[in-house]
Symmetry: C2
Subunit: 423 residues, 2 copies
Amino acid sequence: MTLLDFESDRLAEFAAQVRAEYDDLKAKNLKLDLTRGKPSSEQLDFAEHLLALPGEDDHTDADGADVRNYGNLKGIRDIRELWADVLGVDPELLIAGDASSLNIMFDLVSWSYAFGNNDSERPWREEEKVRWICPVPGYDRHFTISEQFGFEMVTVPMLEDGPDVDAIKELVKDPQVKGMWAVPVFGNPTGITFSEEVCRELAAMETAAPDFRIVWDNAYAVHTLTDEFPPVHDVVGMAAEAGHPNRFWAMSSTSKITLAGGGVSFFHSSRENLDWYLSLAGVRGIGPNKVNQLAHARYFGDAEGVRAVMRKHAGSLAPKFTRVLEILERRLGEYEVARWTSPQGGYFISLDVIDGTASRVVELAKEAGIALTGAGSSFPLKDDPNNRNIRLAPSLPPVEELEVAMDGVATCVLLAAVEKLGA
Amino acid sequence: MTLLDFESDRLAEFAAQVRAEYDDLKAKNLKLDLTRGKPSSEQLDFAEHLLALPGEDDHTDADGADVRNYGNLKGIRDIRELWADVLGVDPELLIAGDASSLNIMFDLVSWSYAFGNNDSERPWREEEKVRWICPVPGYDRHFTISEQFGFEMVTVPMLEDGPDVDAIKELVKDPQVKGMWAVPVFGNPTGITFSEEVCRELAAMETAAPDFRIVWDNAYAVHTLTDEFPPVHDVVGMAAEAGHPNRFWAMSSTSKITLAGGGVSFFHSSRENLDWYLSLAGVRGIGPNKVNQLAHARYFGDAEGVRAVMRKHAGSLAPKFTRVLEILERRLGEYEVARWTSPQGGYFISLDVIDGTASRVVELAKEAGIALTGAGSSFPLKDDPNNRNIRLAPSLPPVEELEVAMDGVATCVLLAAVEKLGA
């Protein structure tokens, strides 16, 4: 029986019970954090050996160059070939950078804004308006970048197999639409993976703007929670075949594989796109930290080494996701006051509560010492039009804390629901 | 007797002799490189232990935070305090970043261009024109940044104690003049160090533009070639005292102390300037590579550790500088066809040859297998109006190669001179 079907007496009784549970929760004086997709200490320990790498007397890359010295904007061959093998792409179209692919995304947008990109008729700053497609729910840091540059963010819904391609095809008929954010595998926060068909349609569609770009943030390309690794669709190749070689700026990184904030980022794109990027990266600086790239190449050994590490991560993360889903089902399932995703990978569970109650849930949780990501944060301008979505990040806390926190969150969801129902 | 005073017979004889020397030089089929200020392998070896740091089980910073995880935009306290001690500045006004301070400089200019800085009335891109002061000869990569953003570069001469402050004071009366490049200690390429008086005048002068900034690239702050370390003038403090707290964006890095391209960069400025920078750096990314920062803190130990490393560098570099100066004096001194700087630190010797012959010298050297930095590269748009300046970078080659190269360069200088004199 769902909460909406409760007779008023029963609802009042239930509300009293939930309020009592919430009082108990507050009395625990918790201090728990489910806000961000940070790896746990246990996960970071997997890469502990990396802290001693490359090690003394190991400073020469596969091309015989000294990684300690200046130079080599595109990154060392050792790590580019290894990572190209992980992705199944051409290493000549893959650049290795510093630790953050977000940095590269920002720069690509920033430089298109200031100078125009290699297909622009004029710098984006000279456009009357730049519009940007934002599948929702999506990654808050993406939206913050497009907000920073004053782009008008246009949302499209995420469906089971990726963003609504029909809606996107309609939007890109407008030459002011210059780009789109995408997290194609185990998306943030939904866990949804784009189907091959969606990838092909995004690669093949006609766009009015010649300099339209899809920022393809494959942050969770190998971040499985099961024994299976998802296929990596080579969208750069698909786009070339479809006659739109420069459509994708494709990112990935080892941030949640080795060291969050101390890994290696990768940028895969067409030769033209890379040359344009490098022409400006070469003004901005001399080259990436190649010592860290060599350390990573040594740490992984080869592409199979990457997958071996990811199996360890899955072993650590999967039980946490399982527990969260169990608690949600046990505490909320019968009342139909929420629905949630059951991702096969990535870092997040997307929780939808009764419309209009997400911000109240977050507030109640905060009062009980449980920090949740702000309601609406998975939407541009943090504006969830239905005030319904909450992003859960189960990775950081130990599983015992996670259980306490999720049980508390469930109580808050129920309390917000009964409040909404006037009980 | 100078070459200019030679009678025509003697000049012809001398020219024949120089041409024979040049033919001998070419016959050696050299392949030597004096182009860039790269550290030598011997210097890079000083930091070899860093390649194994921080080492396993060492990943906690002075604030108890795990450096392996995300966060901390301003960098870890361990390295900020250590470096603040080196510079004699307030660690709260010092940010530690990734490897490249050039990256930070570019971003500061780029973000002022796109958004305006914290003192701007409007973004610089909306200014009818932005003018930028470039002391010459100066650092080519600085000039390339201001060129990239379309700034009009206005040169001022370098004097014995720094750039011509009177000329600068005149220029900054123009509100279109938004900034200035500076390498205040052991400048690139002159080796000139700004006097305290010059520092104070730059801090105190009135500027028409409220958002005027001096990019203070203290790249060689501790890069002595002698037993003496130069004083580091706290220009941020001087500017605050003079009522212009936001005047300086002050940079430094460990690029030529530990690992070129794999070190730690530092940005010292006013609280307001740093907050503005961090507000945008926090959109661009999550934080710098703190593992590398901790590795550096461990490697140095303390500020004295930095100076100890720099004494090793001086021990390696000083003999190279000495040999270059000896060869220049021995081969060219008596003919008065060139003058050069005798720096007490840094990475370069600035060589002025007979007006109009610098590009010819570089061309002759290239034909003889000696790569020199392109003539004019120390000037905006690579345009040396007198075609006279050549930047010599003695650091990279072993001393035996350096001797051969410099002897060859001297021959080229003489040949270009006799050509110029029509002999």
